[in-house]
Amino acid sequence: MSSGYKSDDKNISLEALVANVPNGASLALGGSFLHRGPFSFVRELIRQKKTNLEIIKQSPGYDIDILCRAGAVKKVRAGIVAMEGNFGLAPSYRRAIESKAVELEEHACATLTAGLRASAYGVPFQPCGGLQGSDIPGINGWKSIEDPYNSGGSVWVIPAITPDIAIIHANEVDRHGNVRVYGTSHWDRIMSRSAKTVLVTAEKLVEDHIFTDQPEMTLIPYFMVQAYSIVQQGAWPGSCWPEYEIDYPAVEAYMQSTDPSVLDRHLTSAPENLGVAHA
């Protein structure tokens, strides 16, 4: 069996893409806070009633909140969780942690990256700078080791974190599944290298030459991508630069109350549900 994905059948529906996720899977979600997250994918996880998911992301917000709200999460590994802007804390996430419905592995963003790097580099753990005096290593049982080359220094080492699936929302893919994003890649690159497989939603399907003309713009080569789906406004209600900004009224409506009818209305009003989404 090949270690890469070479196929002409990668372009599938969002429903079929999400059907690849088994209950209990660990998912690294791309983007940061309300920016270029794979949010249509996240909502489809809820529609398909996935359960016991482990969510891995340095700075989740809307995604972890809505998944906690829907009862889809068992564990989260994160560095900072908030809705940002004027919205503050993520209320359903907060309730899930305080009630112990969801287990938290608290990280600094860079320790989560270190764990992903260990996996990407094919080593069991990864040194991470800083962390002196922090209570975080203690609650996670992380170890500090002496420099084996006798510099006299020591460093915290973070065990490898290998997500089952990295889920990325991109600006563009080509038919083979090459992936391009504009602006910062957040942590998408290391997520794609550390996970066992990669699933992608993208705003646009573009011609091959867009990628071959500027290959250095490609974030993830096609052979790492198992399948993709074209979902316009797939990062809604977040931003996807330069296509669209955050839809603040939609976030506000979502935050209005935790009544189930509000969540239902939010899921119903999402672009991928309105039929505008499939190119």
């Binding site: 994160a78 908030a82 860079a110 320790t111 700078g129 800083g130 922090s134």
Partner: protein, 251 residues
């Protein structure tokens, strides 16, 4: 009054005053006030500095000021994308001159709790978490923070949980500016409309105030820069900072 501070302008402007010429200075997620401080420093001062941010921007020229401090707007007109892994690595290898980091509780040594109120394993309130703090606070050359509430529950003798250690260089609240002096936060200056006694009364840790004086009022260019960043006062209204909270009567 010829010159005055609003609580909002006090925090933003005094954060900006920690920025130094030509230094690498970073603003991150969930950090509207440091973002405004960084943009203010670019407009208010005669010198320049190297501004990098969590949107990947390097000396960006945003065409509007975003609500989210990680908005892609903060990478408009950037000539490079310096992404998340890049700025953390820059910091851990000792090349981050100044970073702004949030904090829910701050103690007298300038360590931060961003994690929980109460016991970590049975939290009364689960807070957002420290983001980069635990790695950046001990490795940045200087780190500064801000708190919109100055009280004994935010400026504490003992943290509920030590998310990040390393000692803030500067802390700005609506009524005071602290700066590290001999490994503890010392009072640098206080809001001219409150008294030193009130700052002491409302601070949970003990501090040296021997060098402190009332904070200098904003300069004309600092005021003009902030006005240009928040022309209709939306950020100021959203931040809703006051010198005293409802429960804190003037002494």
């Amino acid at each position: 009054m010829l010159n005055s501070w609003s609580p909002f302008s006090y925090i933003v402007t005094n954060l900006a005053r920690f920025i130094r010429p030509n230094e690498i200075t970073f603003s991150g997620v969930n950090s509207s006030m440091p973002m405004l401080a960084c943009l203010l420093a670019k407009r208010a001062y005669e010198w320049d500095y190297i501004y990098i941010n969590v949107a990947g921007g390097v000396d960006p020229e945003p065409t509007m000021i975003p609500l989210s401090s990680s908005d892609p707007m903060l990478a408009v007109k950037t000539a490079s994308i310096f992404d998340n892994e890049d700025f953390y690595d820059l910091c851990t290898r000792g090349r981050m001159d100044l970073t702004f980091l949030g904090a829910a509780q701050i103690d007298g040594e300038g360590s931060a709790n961003n994690s929980v109120i109460g016991d970590w394993h049975s939290p009364k309130v689960r807070l957002p978490g420290g983001g980069g703090g635990a790695v950046m606070l001990p490795t940045a050359k200087r780190a500064c923070t801000w708190r919109t509430e100055h009280s004994r529950r935010t400026l504490v003798d003992k943290l509920d949980f030590r998310t990040s250690w390393g000692g803030f260089h500067g802390v700005v609240t609506p009524i005071a500016v602290f700066q590290k002096r001999a490994d503890r936060l010392a009072l640098e200056s206080w809001h001219p409309e409150v008294t030193l006694e009130e700052v002491i009364e409302r601070t949970g840790f003990t501090f040296d105030a021997s060098h402190a004086k009332p904070t200098d009022y904003p300069t004309a260019s600092e005021k003009a820069a902030l006005q240009s960043l928040d022309p209709d006062g939306q950020f100021e209204r959203d931040a809703a900072v006051s010198i005293r909270m409802a429960a804190q009567a003037a002494p």
